[in-house]
């Protein structure tokens, strides 16, 4: 009857096990959608071993998991990164379990690592179980009830102001992130618009007689701070290219990083 418990119980792994091969394909047929992460998948696989989680064969489990990942790969199932991380770790663990222990005593032994994985699975399963039990308890508003008609008291009217912590936090978070969502231009008022540069250079170049440096076309106001200047140069250069395209000006540069020169075509001759 409890929705939560039911959902937990209908975890897709109650299927009886026949032999390893059948089991493998059976598990592999289940789509990843049903799992909540690699540990959940491992727990599901561990259940198919039908032994106490403390006596589980971690080596077998690792093989089962790696086979799953291989199969998913063959089927071009997209596996989330955590599944792949777990696969890499299990592959490492498997090799450690199969190979003789290294000389270096500093590292944790393969057995310790395997025991930790078994511990994690056992702990997750314990939490699953109590979660289901919790949901199946007699719950307020479903099995147990409060006074249906709390008695209205009308004598002395005082106002009690309430606010909850989530409201408080939410309000603060909203204030503190408001600026993050501001439209970009608010922050970029120092950008010299290309349109403005276009008008400016078209006007000036039309009047200028010979070659002038591009920098000479920068507006006075935009020569102050480095980033203002940078913006003005970039916009003016973009504008000059546009004017070249239109056939109104010519530009030249005598070498890499050399000054850029510009003259109006009408004036040049």
């Amino acid at each position: 009857m409890p929705d939560g418990a039911e959902r937990l119980r209908e975890a897709p792994f109650e299927a009886p096990v026949r032999d390893a091969a059948a089991l493998e394909s059976e598990v592999l047929e289940v789509s990843l959608g049903g799992y909540e992460g690699p540990l959940d998948l491992l727990l599901a696989m561990a259940r198919t071993q039908k032994v106490d989680l403390r006596r589980i064969s971690v080596l077998k489990l690792a093989e089962q998991y790696l086979a799953f990942v291989e199969r998913a790969d063959a089927l071009r199932l997209e596996l989330a990164a955590d599944y792949l991380v777990m696969a890499a770790w299990l592959a490492y663990l498997k090799s450690r379990l199969l190979l003789p222990p290294p000389e270096d005593a500093g590292e944790a032994s393969a057995e310790e690592l395997a025991a930790h994985l078994a511990f994690q699975l056992e702990r997750l399963e314990a939490m699953r179980k109590v979660a289901a039990e919790l949901m199946a308890r007699d719950r307020l508003g479903r099995d147990v009830f409060a006074r249906g008609a709390p008695e209205a008291r009308t004598v002395e009217r005082r106002t009690r102001w309430t606010a909850t912590l989530p409201e408080l936090l939410g309000a603060y978070a909203a204030i503190r992130t408001r600026d993050d969502y501001r439209p970009l231009q608010v922050d970029r008022s120092w950008i010299f618009p290309v349109e403005e540069a276009l008008t400016r250079i078209a006007g000036l170049a039309g009047r200028a007689m010979g070659w002038s440096r591009l920098s000479a076309f920068l507006p006075e106001r935009w020569r102050g701070t480095p980033h203002e200047r940078r913006s003005a140069v970039a916009s003016s250069f973009a504008a000059s290219l546009e004017l070249v395209k239109r056939g109104e000006v010519e530009i030249r540069q005598d070498g890499v990083f050399a000054p850029i020169w510009l003259r109006g075509r009408g004036a040049g001759g």
Binding site: F145, R153, L169, T177, R178
Partner: protein
């Protein structure tokens, strides 16, 4: 709910009806949880078949005689009511609960996170002016109080939160207030991708640090950026 088969109707009904003390318990629970007074018929309809609601209710009425709560007949219906002689105990609970206004919650949150904070700073952070009434409400509630004056020109008064504030929000200290990434983690914040977020353009000085800004603000409360 009862899993009996339908064959032996009358017998079944007799068999189903629990003993009278149990019926009394049932009527007690039903009436307690009901938002409205209930008639004998309504209660009987909720009891197992074959129950005698009238008898159960009369037993219940006797049981509650002289208690702090009594079973009362209201017209042809029944309801639990506080004993009339104890009405005086109910007086102090006559309160309306009202939600704090958005302005008040925001102001409170800013005080909590930035304390000690001046009114000018609160306005700077909220981006709107803070009305006298908002601060008054919070002061009256006992959730904020005046702190030390700031050692800056004008010596503005600051606001800080109180014990009562920690109490109401179930916090053990103002340091226990969660940070922004914890809001996000808890889903209290929209995790929209933030447009224009500047990340590693290290040499740019375009990123205004809120706190520098506030310090500047505190030092010269009149300074404003056009």
């Amino acid at each position: 709910m009862s899993g009996g088969s339908g064959t032996a109707g009358a017998q079944q009904a007799l068999f189903d009806a629990p003993p009278l003390p149990e019926q009394e318990r049932m009527a007690e629970a039903i009436l307690f949880a009901s938002a409205e007074p209930m008639t004998t018929a309504q209660i009987e309809a909720r009891l197992p078949k074959g129950s005698d609601a009238r008898a159960a209710l009369e037993r219940l009425e006797t049981r509650y005689e002289g208690r702090g709560v009594q079973l009362r007949r209201i017209g042809n219906a029944w309801a639990f009511r506080t004993a009339p002689d104890l009405g005086f105990l109910m007086h102090s609970e006559a309160e309306d609960t009202k939600k704090l206004s958005r302005a008040a919650i925001e102001t409170l949150a800013i005080v909590a996170y930035h304390q000690p904070v001046t009114r000018a700073e609160i306005e700077e952070i909220r981006g709107v002016s803070v009305s006298r009434g908002t601060l008054d409400t919070l002061l009256e509630l006992g959730w904020i109080r005046f702190g030390r004056r700031r050692d800056t020109p004008g010596r503005p008064v600051t606001f800080v939160t109180t014990e009562a504030f920690l109490d109401h929000f179930g916090l053990s200290s103002a340091r226990d207030l969660p940070g922004l990434s914890e809001f996000r983690a808890a889903g209290l914040l929209d995790n929209r991708h933030i447009p224009g977020a500047k990340s590693e353009e290290g040499d740019e000085d375009e990123t205004e640090d809120m706190f520098d800004e506030q310090e500047a603000q505190a030092a010269a409360p009149d300074a404003h950026h056009g």
